[in-house]
Structure formats: C-alpha cells, structure tokens
C-alpha cells in the first residue's frame, strides 16, 4: 500500500476533513456546553437563593436553627448526593454560622472571619452594600453565590451557596463522554461514506495511471484500456491520453513500415554484391563447361574435376540465395546459430577494400528465445556500416556470444573513427555520416535494441570503433519450449 497513491490520499484527505471538522465543531460545542453548564448552575443557584430566603428569614427571626437546617441540608432521602455536592451556609446578622448543609465543617456559632474561605469578605461586603442581586465569587475550589437576607428592611443575615468547581468538571466530563459517543456514532458512517467517495473520486485517476504504465510496458497494438469518460479534468486527460495512444500506435506502425522498408533497402544494397557473388561462379562454371565441350565433343561423361567445380559453384549460389531469402522473409522465430552464419554469408558477398578482412566469431551453439529477424538486422546493419568504414588493409571483427542471461554482439573496426561531435546524435534519424546513406540505419538499430530491452554502447577512438550490444535473453516460456521441441522434431 503506497500512501502516496491518490487511491489512498483522496479518501484519507476526505476522512481527515471529516474528523477535523468534527474535532473543531466538537471542541466549540464542548466549550459552549461548559459555559452553559456554569451559567445554568448560577441561574439555579440564584433561584435556590430566592426560594430559600423566606424560610431562612423566618428561621433567623425566631432563632430556629432546625428550620434553617431543614432548608439548607442535603437531601437525605434515597441515594446520597454525588460528591462533591453544593454547599449552603446561612450566617446571622453578626456574621456567625447559623446553620449549614455541612454542620461539621461550618459549626453553628462560628464567626465568618474564622472560617477558611472568603466568608468574612462576603459578609462585610453584603452587610454594607444593599445589593438586590446575588454576589458571585470564584474562590479556590468553589463558585460562591451570596445573597443578603433582609427582614422588614433590616439586615438579618446572609445566605451563601457554594458550587464545587470539580463538580462542573465531573459533569462536563460526563457530557463530553456522552457527546463523544454520539459524535463517534455519527462519524462512523460519515467516515465510511467519505472513504468510499474518495475511492470513487480517485478511481478514474488510478485507472488512467495504470493504463499509462501498461502503455509503457505492453504492446500498444494489444493494449486495451477502459478509460474514464467524463466532463471533468480527468476525463479530458483520458481523452488526451487516448489521442496520444493513437499517435503512438500510428508512430509504431510507421516505424514498423520503415523497418521493413529499410530491410528491403539493405537487401537491395546487398543484391548487387549477391548478383556479383552469383555471377562469379556462374561465369566460372560457364567457362568451364564451354572449355570442356570444346575439347571433348565425343565424350559423354564429364570428368570428375568439372563436376566438382560445378558443384562448388552451385553450392555457393545456393548459400548466398538462401541467406538472402531468409533476410527478406522476416518471419517471427527464434534465433539459431545459422542466422548468425547467414549474416556472415551475406556480408562476405560485399566487396572489401584490398587487404581488408572480416573476422567472424560465432559463439552461439544453440537456439535462443530471441526473435531472429531483428537480431539479424542489428548485426547486418552494424557490420555493413563497419565494412563501409574501413579502408584497405583494415579489419572488421564481429563477435557473437551468450553471456550469462544475455546475448552480446560486438562489432569492431579499426577504420576511420566517428567524430566526437557526431557521437551524440549517432542514433537519431536522418543523421547520415557517409555519402548515400539514408540516415536511418543506426536509428533503426537503436530502436530494435530498445524493443528487445537491450543496450547499445559505442566507443570510438583513433584505434578502433566498437558497437557493443547486450540483449537480455527472455526465460523460455512453456509454449516456446514446446514449439522448439516441435521444430526439432
């Protein structure tokens, strides 16, 4: 799984967007909830102060601690209240604890100033200010709401309700957990949809990309791609790619046509030498026959020497013609050692400068699963080029041998070196370096090597020019093996 692939990046991005949105929204909601929680508590506290006040005024008036406590105490019915619970304290007009929801912590009669917390401050402030609204105070672990109690206009005491801040947090966490659960339940299907949607969006792109990879490795003729068709950019890309593919196919066809033409042209070039090669033995044979007739009119049987000469001449003709026939047929079949020898046969027909030599080393002893025609053409092109590059007394050496899993072809000559400037453009089309050349020979050679997945290297210096080609030998498939067996049988 490559994370860089759009197949994952688009769905992951969508899912990420969903999660980010949920997190931001959830955070904002949580913050708002927390604020509301506190606001609700304050409102509740203010209502509680209001509802407790009359009872407490009554209790303070009659010094009825019990009555005050019944108003302030925690609910005792049923389950105990969750800790920490709210705190409620009533102070009398002297600032002494009158009653509280926690009588052990706020003992009846204790002075407010002696209590831990803001009690003394609250008492002083509220006794002096005649505030209608309750005072709010955050101090330590509590949020305090305090209200002065007035009986017939006189200050009669103070009522304070304290909410533990930890209680807000506990409640807030509870809400967060519940909200988080709901959010997750909502997110799960949205995330799945996001993932699915993202995959759908990425799929045409992925498809196109696969198709492009296939176009590079597979034969264009047999390439079949179901390309995305849409009005969007990817659809446009697909259409352009289709056009590109069509262009490539056209180019490939053109190339094949050119290869064929060039092969035929090479055969044509060879034809003159071949004709000469045939003409020589034929002439020799005709002269020999004529001479024999002239001297031996009565004899019915030709002498052994004459027959042998005729036989050799005919064999030479047969070899030359059969090599040429194979060359022009171009059928798809495996490379055999004979193919390499055939090229040598064809080349030997060419006229060489005086004292020049073609050294041919065929190291191939068994057929290889390489297409014969392009290999022959590569060898023929390079060797004929080399032969044309040498002068009198110079040599062309051709070596063909399997090396590991590859077939290596080396064509070397000690003729005129290729100029350094020409080396760069050597394999480009229409870059002829000799008079009368089409400029296609080396380009076609290069294309053939590329098609076979091989490499071609050129080294040229004052001493020699070497074309070094390595072609990978494909592992023989079962079908190939069978065919070869059928052939040998």
């Amino acid at each position: 799984m490559r994370l860089s692939s759009y197949r994952y990046r688009i769905p992951l991005s969508l899912v990420g967007c969903v999660l980010l949105t949920a997190a931001v929204l959830g955070g904002a909601l949580a913050w708002e909830t927390y604020r509301n929680l506190i606001a609700d508590r304050i409102a509740e506290g203010e209502r509680m102060l209001q509802s407790m006040a009359p009872v407490l005024i009554q209790a303070l008036k009659h010094d009825d601690v019990w009555l005050a406590w019944t108003a302030l105490r925690e609910p005792v019915n049923g389950h105990p209240p969750p800790r920490p619970y709210r705190l409620a304290v009533a102070l009398d007009r002297f600032g002494h604890v009158f009653a509280s929801s926690r009588p052990r912590d706020f003992r009846v009669g204790t002075a407010a100033a002696d209590l831990p917390g803001p009690w003394g401050r609250l008492f002083t402030q509220l006794r002096e200010d005649h505030l209608a609204r309750p005072v709010r105070l955050r101090d330590g672990a509590y949020l305090y709401l305090a209200s002065a109690l007035h009986s017939e206009g006189d200050f009669s005491g103070l009522l304070v309700i304290g909410y533990p801040v930890a209680g807000f947090w506990a409640r807030f966490r509870e809400i967060l957990w519940q909200g988080g659960g709901v959010l997750l339940a909502l997110l799960a299907p949205i995330t799945l949809v996001g993932w699915y949607w993202g995959r759908r969006m990425a799929s045409p792109l992925v498809h196109l990309s696969h198709c492009m990879v296939k176009a590079r490795t597979e034969n264009l003729e047999s390439l079949h791609c179901q390309l995305p068709a849409g009005r969007d950019e990817i659809g446009e890309l697909a259409r352009r790619f289709q056009q590109l593919l069509a262009g490539l196919r056209e180019k490939q066809l053109l190339e094949q046509k050119m290869f064929a033409q060039e092969r035929m042209a090479a055969i044509g070039r060879l034809a003159a030498s071949v004709a000469h090669e045939i003409n020589n033995p034929v002439g020799g044979m005709l002269v020999a026959l004529d001479t024999w007739r002239h001297h031996n009119r009565e004899r019915q049987d030709p002498p052994e020497r004459l027959l042998s000469l005729l036989e050799r001449g005919l064999h030479q003709i047969a070899d030359t013609v059969s090599a040429l026939l194979v060359e022009s047929r171009g059928a798809q079949r495996d490379l055999t050692p004979q193919d390499i020898d055939d090229v040598a046969t064809l080349l030997k027909a060419q006229r060489l400068p005086a004292g020049a030599h073609l050294h041919w080393h065929n190291g191939l002893h068994r057929p290889l699963p390489l297409p014969a025609t392009p290999v022959r053409q590569i060898l023929l092109n390079l060797a004929s080029n080399a032969l044309q590059a040498i002068g009198p007394g110079q040599n062309v050496t051709v070596r063909v041998r399997p090396e590991g899993g590859r077939l290596r072809l080396q064509v070397a000559d000690d003729g005129e070196p290729i100029p350094a400037a020409a080396l760069d453009t050597l394999f480009e089309p229409f870059q002829s370096h000799r008079p009368g050349g089409t400029g296609l020979g080396l380009w076609i050679t290069y294309q053939l090597v590329q098609q076979l997945g091989g490499q071609i290297e050129v080294r040229s210096d004052a001493e020699r020019t070497v074309f070094d080609i390595t072609l990978p030998i494909p592992a023989p498939t079962a079908r190939d093996t069978e065919e070869r067996h059928a052939d040998t049988a």
């Binding site: 509802s51 601690v65 019990w66 406590w69 019915n77």
Partner: protein, 301 residues
C-alpha cells in the same frame, strides 16, 4: 401542617408537590369532619414516629372498625398546638407527652398508657455525637450546642433543664447554643449530622428510630439515662361523654388481644395499653412544679 422530616426533599419544586399531596390527604381527613359529625377526633404528637402514614391509616381504620364510627387523626407540628386544640374542644382525645398532660391535668383525663418493654414507662436520654469525646453526664457538656425537642416535652426538655436547674444553671448559660427541633427524631438527626453536639430524646423514640434507621442512630451515643417516667399517655378532654371515651379506651386496652391490634402494636414497637395510673406522672409533675417557680423554662414562641 407539619412535614415529616424524612420525606423533606431538597428542591423547592418537590417540596411544593409533596406539600400539595399531603394537603390533599389532610383535606380528605378534614372533609370527614362536617360530613360525619360523630367522627372521633384523635390528636397525635411526635411522641411516636408519626411520619409512618401507611401505619397511621391502618391504625385509624382499625380503630374505626372497633368503634363502629369514623376516627379522624390530627397531627400538628408542636405539642402545644395539640394541647390547645384539646382545650378549644377541636379534638376529643390525644396522645401527648407526660408534661402537657401534667400542665393541663384539670382539663384532661387519662385514657390509657402505652406499655413499652413490659412497663408503662420510658426514659429521657442525653445523647451526643459519636465523634465527640465520650462523657458520662449531661453536666460534662458545657459550652456545647444542645438540641431540645419541644419545650413541652418531658424527656426532650423538662428533664435536662431540671438537671441543669439542680446544678444551679440554665440551658442558655450552660450550653454554647440551644435550639428546638420540634421532634425527638429531629434531635437524633441533628446530633447525628453534627448540627448539634448533644440533645435530649425519648428513649422509646430513640430505640424505634434505631429499628428503622440504624445508620443514623449509629452516629450518636447515649451518655445519660434518666429515671423512669410515665410513658406519654393517651388523654381525653375531661368533658368528653363517657359513650365516646369508654369504647375508645376499651379498644386501646384490647389491642394486644386481637391479631390485627397486635400486629399494629408491633409496628409501633409497643406491648399494649394499660389502664390509667396517675401516679406514674408524679415525678414529672414534681419537676414541673419545681421549675415553674424559676425562670429556667424557655417558652416556645
């Protein structure tokens, strides 16, 4: 209308709701008054755990079936309210504390006295918070916050005040702070919660409360136990006709002899009722007489 402490909820809304519900219930009782003029009106005070409405309804129905006439139960917050209702002839009978009986003896007659653990007597208990250092006497509680039940209660007020009087002091002078809770069970709650350091309660209520709420009572400790006093008696207006009084007395005395009556008694934690014995209240009367000459008794507002 008095609210039973155990059911007093925290929220004003719930309290209002409960109050409305109880008002309906009380309304039902009150409606019986004019509709059936022959109904016997029976007043109850917190000398028993009077918040067991189910029990009270069952007892009322049982009494009505025994008497062959409707019985109305009337409950009030303070002892004095019941006593005064008796004096105004708004009630025919009442179950009161020994002290109100002694105070209004000229206008009341004893009907029956409950029998608790074999005797028609009970005690006043001085209790403290369990977390207070243990002491063995009321007199060791100087400066503490002390809870009385009702100023007309013998065990919850007269006895401890008399004890202090004998020690030449008054509750206001001796204790740091005193207050009334208006019921023995409230005193137990106040002491257990730490609102008061100590209090005086009826031994019968204390034990009954322990039976129903052992967790609350566990927060208290008994430090002093008074001599035996006459158990809070059932009394009648002295001008109540004998035909109203006698069947009621008979029904109470017979309670322990009928299965249904015995079951009700066991819910009350009592053995039964015995015929009147005025001498049981002599000690209360003596304390009252001794105290009424002094300023030691605080009058409830």
């Amino acid at each position: 209308m008095r609210l039973p402490t155990r059911h007093r909820p925290a929220s004003p809304a719930r309290r209002r709701l409960l109050r409305a519900g109880l008002a309906l219930l009380a309304g039902g009782m009150a409606k019986g008054l004019p509709a059936a003029p022959e109904a016997l009106r029976f007043g109850l005070t917190p000398v028993i755990l009077d918040d067991q409405i189910g029990f009270l309804n069952d007892w009322r129905d049982w009494l009505a079936s025994q008497l062959g006439r409707p019985v109305t139960f009337v409950q009030r917050l303070k002892y004095r309210d019941i006593t005064e209702a008796m004096l105004r002839e708004e009630l025919d009978m009442a179950w009161v504390c020994g002290l109100p009986y002694v105070q209004t003896r000229p206008f009341m007659s004893l009907v029956a006295i409950p029998c608790y653990r074999g005797t028609p007597t009970y005690h006043s208990l001085i209790i403290t918070r369990r977390d207070l250092p243990p002491v063995d006497s009321l007199l060791a509680l100087r400066g503490r916050i002390f809870a009385f039940s009702d100023p007309d209660s013998n065990s919850g007020y007269l006895y401890p005040t008399w004890r202090l009087h004998r020690a030449h002091t008054t509750p206001q002078a001796f204790f740091g702070k005193v207050f009334f809770t208006w019921a023995h069970r409230n005193t137990i709650d106040a002491v257990a919660a730490g609102l008061a350091d100590a209090g005086a309660v009826d031994s019968y209520i204390y034990e009954e409360y322990r039976r129903h709420h052992p967790d609350v009572v566990a927060g208290t400790r008994v430090v002093e136990r008074s001599p035996a006093f006459g158990f809070p008696p059932v009394v009648a207006r002295d001008d109540l006709p004998a035909e109203d009084r006698a069947p009621f007395q008979q029904a109470l005395l017979n309670m322990e002899h009928t299965p249904a009556g015995k079951a009700l008694l066991s819910r009350l934690g009592l053995d039964g009722f015995v015929p009147p014995r005025r001498e049981l209240f002599a000690d209360i009367a003596a304390m009252w007489t001794e105290m009424s000459g002094s300023d030691g008794l605080q009058r409830a507002t």
